[in-house]
């Protein structure tokens, strides 16, 4: 800094070497640029906080999505368990029914009594345990087998009516927040670019300073408009329930 005066008298000054901030020459713009740089740094700090905030919120939405995915899978597991439990009871019913028919067909008196007892006590119990698999024709295939996929689809639809775990919704929210985070970071890069030009304006003079100042200001303005735009888009997405 001390050699600046001597340098300017000993060599041809370049735009980059001209003047010295705080040297007393044109202090006005120097202070203005310093104030602008402070504003950029403050905006960058706010942007960094916002990026971190968005990251935290996206992380929370992802955790919620994972929890709901586990819940969803647990409900599916339980519904399959119920479906196949009913199917096993339906299978027992069909076997018992076949046994009853065979006993009746024998023509024997004792067999007929046994068949009647089975029909009266065992079969109704198995019908109850098998649920709609035995009472709803939609679950019986033409070949005599059971349409377990259809039964599961109906059981699961009933489960989802009560409290559907919306994992996809939580993940969509996480993706939206991640995208907002990305665009906020792009704004931070713009701010860094404006800081570069403002710093250049701070250490140069005359035309170079003016040009750097205008560029720095323009990029800063674009950066601020960018942030406002990103926040507005995020707000609209939040309001519309995304």
């Amino acid at each position: 800094v001390a050699g600046v005066g001597r340098m300017s008298s000993e060599s041809q000054p370049t735009p980059l070497d001209q003047g010295e901030p705080g040297s007393g020459v044109k202090d006005g713009p120097t202070w203005l640029i310093a104030a602008l740089m402070t504003a950029v740094v403050l905006a960058t700090a706010i942007a960094a906080w916002r990026t971190s905030d968005l990251s935290s919120k996206a992380g929370a939405a992802e955790r919620e999505g994972l929890i709901k995915s586990v819940q969803d899978q647990s409900l599916r597991n339980e519904d399959w368990r119920l479906t196949l439990e009913q199917a096993a009871n339906a299978q027992r019913y069909f076997a018992a029914e076949a046994e009853v028919d065979a006993l009746v067909a024998s023509g024997d008196e004792i067999d007929a009594a046994q068949a009647a007892a089975l029909r009266q006590y065992l079969l109704p119990s198995l019908v109850l345990l098998a649920g709609p698999l035995l009472t709803d024709d939609r679950y019986l295939n033409p070949d005599g087998s059971l349409d377990l996929e259809q039964r599961y689809a109906d059981v699961h639809a009933e489960t989802l009516e009560a409290d559907p775990p919306d994992a996809a919704g939580a993940f969509a929210r996480a993706d939206r927040l991640h995208n907002q985070q990305r665009w906020t970071v792009v704004g931070t890069v713009l701010l860094a670019g404006s800081l570069f030009w403002l710093a250049l304006a701070e250490i140069t003079r005359e035309r170079t300073r003016s040009l750097a100042l205008i560029l720095g200001l323009a990029i800063f303005a674009v950066g601020m408009i960018w942030f406002v735009g990103v926040e507005l888009v995020g707000f609209v997405a939040w309001m519309t329930g995304l």
Partner: protein, 223 residues
């Protein structure tokens, strides 16, 4: 070193520091993007893992039912055959009453067996059903088909896990690069504070560190 020579490099550390600041912002952006992609892939990998476990559970229940129905059918069929044989034995000894009772029990077991067989996919589906009576169903084919969905989900889970690893490595690489750029910034700051004689060496060292970090950034970006 003359004043003019030192003057030539007077602003160099400041300009390099400004360039480094912009580079830091860009690398921070890349790191954020890589981190987000790693998070999304990690989350997807976990979802697939949960789905794979669920499918294994479902498949276990389903094969238990199908195999159980087949086993019941086979057991009743064997029981029927044994009772028929025993009835023939009793007939040969002249015990017709016992033979008749055994035949009746054989008929009941046979009826149960036929009904159970109608419920088992292993006995009804042409893909697995025995080609002729007495032959076992195609258990190997059934098991192979059973795990198609599990294997598909597992492949997706592995793919997502690999994707997570790739982006996580990139993210870690960018963090290391940011640390390197912080060193370059430190050197440029120091260059502005030290005497003119060692300003240039510090600036050059900082520039080398900055250059290395930029090359590393490109290698991580395309890697």
């Amino acid at each position: 070193v003359s004043d003019s020579e030192t003057g030539r490099w007077r602003r160099l550390p400041a300009v390099l520091a400004m360039i480094t600041t912009v580079a830091v912002a860009i690398v921070a952006g890349l790191q954020t993007d890589a981190d987000i992609r790693a998070n999304v892939a990690n989350r997807q990998s976990q979802v697939y893992a949960v789905q794979t476990a669920g499918e294994l559970f479902r498949q276990g229940l389903r094969s238990d039912f199908d195999m159980g129905a087949t086993a019941d059918s086979t057991k009743d069929a064997l029981e029927s055959t044994i009772l028929e044989l025993t009835a023939l034995e009793r007939e040969s000894t002249g015990d017709d009453a016992s033979a008749g009772a055994l035949r009746q029990r054989a008929n009941v077991a046979s009826a149960r067996s036929e009904r159970a067989a109608a419920l088992s996919i292993l006995m009804t589906d042409p893909a697995y059903a025995p080609e002729s009576p007495g032959e076992p169903p195609d258990f190997a084919g059934y098991l192979e088909d059973s795990y198609v969905e599990v294997n598909r989900l597992l492949a997706l889970q592995n793919q997502a896990a690999d994707e997570f690893g790739r982006w996580n490595r990139k993210s870690d690489g960018y963090v290391a690069i940011l640390a390197l750029m912080a060193m370059a910034l430190f050197l440029f700051g120091l260059a502005q504070a030290v005497s003119k004689r060692i300003r240039l060496p510090f600036s050059v060292l900082g520039a080398v560190v900055l250059g290395a970090s930029l090359i590393w950034t490109v290698s991580v970006l395309i890697g």
